[in-house]
């Protein structure tokens, strides 16, 4: 039974507000202490979990890759391969607005055309990967700057260093191939083939293959594949799981907070007198005198 001392205002609106932003429904009802508890507690748990898991524990779908090295280059539309709803997201979604970008990213991911073979805008990004020389692959990292060239090609410069610390700067031009635009990884597959005229350590550079940065709006809460999850576990170990659990629990706690905004506290106001033997037998609970008066007046 709802306690008459609580002003619920519009309970439906309060529940919707409580879903969208933890504590907002209670603030609307004037229950400011509870609003503060839910807002700070639930959002601290949610964003604390996000930070622990490198801001990547929230995603609505997982794609199951079967081909080697497909994690960074899924080259077909989503409908072409199997993907499963992430059960964890069912809990995370209850946090409301902070977890809703995953739904938007799901739509963007589904409409994404896959691998990009044409550069339409300039790229200036970190690059990490390998260069293919005549007789070997050489691990390198550095800054890549490219502009669109004739159809399917790009041209620009790569300034980087090898693992032994040797710095170099080469002019590159060739056919470009990049991983899909929207994907749940900050690393985007990148490949430049058919390079001519560039040299490192006296050998001709034939190809660049590795990853560039994917912009934050294109990876945050976006669907990813099992290989990306493996990479996260490899990088973060148990912290990724702990962070994910934090975000799940934050969502589940907000379910209770939403119900509290709609129906009031589950055990009562908190000033009820302890049950005596008679009350226990009859199954009734004594209300405080202040509440009895309120009920009588109504």
């Amino acid at each position: 039974m709802r306690d008459p001392r609580i002003n619920f205002r519009s309970r439906e609106l309060a529940a919707v507000l409580a879903f969208l932003v933890p504590g907002a429904g209670h603030y609307y009802q004037g229950r400011k202490l509870k609003a503060g508890i839910f807002f700070s507690g639930i959002l601290t748990l949610f964003f604390g979990g996000m930070a622990l898991a490198d801001w990547q524990p929230v995603y609505s779908r997982v794609v199951y890759s079967t081909r080697p090295n497909s994690a960074v280059q899924i080259d077909t539309k989503e409908a072409s391969y199997g993907s499963n709803f992430s059960l964890g997201y069912a809990a995370q979604a209850a946090v409301g607005l902070p977890a809703l970008p995953a739904m938007l990213q799901q739509m963007r991911f589904s409409n994404d055309g896959g691998v990009v073979n044409t550069l339409t805008t300039d790229i200036a990004s970190r690059f990490s990967g390998v260069v293919r020389l005549n007789d070997r692959y050489l691990p390198v990292s550095g800054q890549l700057s490219l502009s669109p060239g004739p159809i399917g090609t790009a041209q620009g410069a790569f300034a980087g260093s090898t693992t032994d610390g040797t710095s170099f700067r080469i002019e590159v031009a060739g056919a470009v191939r990049m991983g899909r635009e929207v994907f749940g990884s900050p690393h985007r597959f990148f490949m430049l083939t058919g390079i001519n005229g560039a040299e490192i350590q006296g050998q001709e550079v034939l190809e660049l293959q590795g990853s560039i940065d994917r912009s934050f709006p294109n990876w945050y809460q976006a669907p990813r594949d099992n290989e990306e999850l493996d990479r996260l576990h490899n990088k973060l170990s148990h912290l990724f799981d702990i962070g994910a659990v934090f975000t799940w629990i934050a969502g589940l706690l907000n379910v209770m907070a939403i119900w509290d905004a709609y129906e009031g506290p589950a055990y009562g106001f908190g000033d009820e007198e302890p049950e005596d033997e008679d009350n226990t037998k009859s199954g009734t609970r004594k209300r405080p005198a202040s509440m009895e008066q309120t009920v009588t007046k109504d």
Binding site: D3, R5, I6, R31, L33, K34, I37, F38, G41, I42, T44, L45, G48, L52, H238, I242, V245, F246, I249, L253, M256, A257, W259, D260, G264, P265, A266, Y267, G268, F269, G270, D271
Partner: protein, 60 residues
Amino acid sequence: MPRTMPALIYALPLTAIISVVYSATRYELPEKIFQSALSMFVKTVIALAILYGLLWYLSS
């Protein structure tokens, strides 16, 4: 044992937040909320410590 300690540390803030938020959904009075939350936190931490001690004993 030292390798597992850092992970266990995360149980403390998690338990604290769960206790406060859960208690806030059970009662309306601030003093009752915090009294209930403190009680729940202490009981949960003790239960976790006993469970951890038992598992540590069985695995040592």
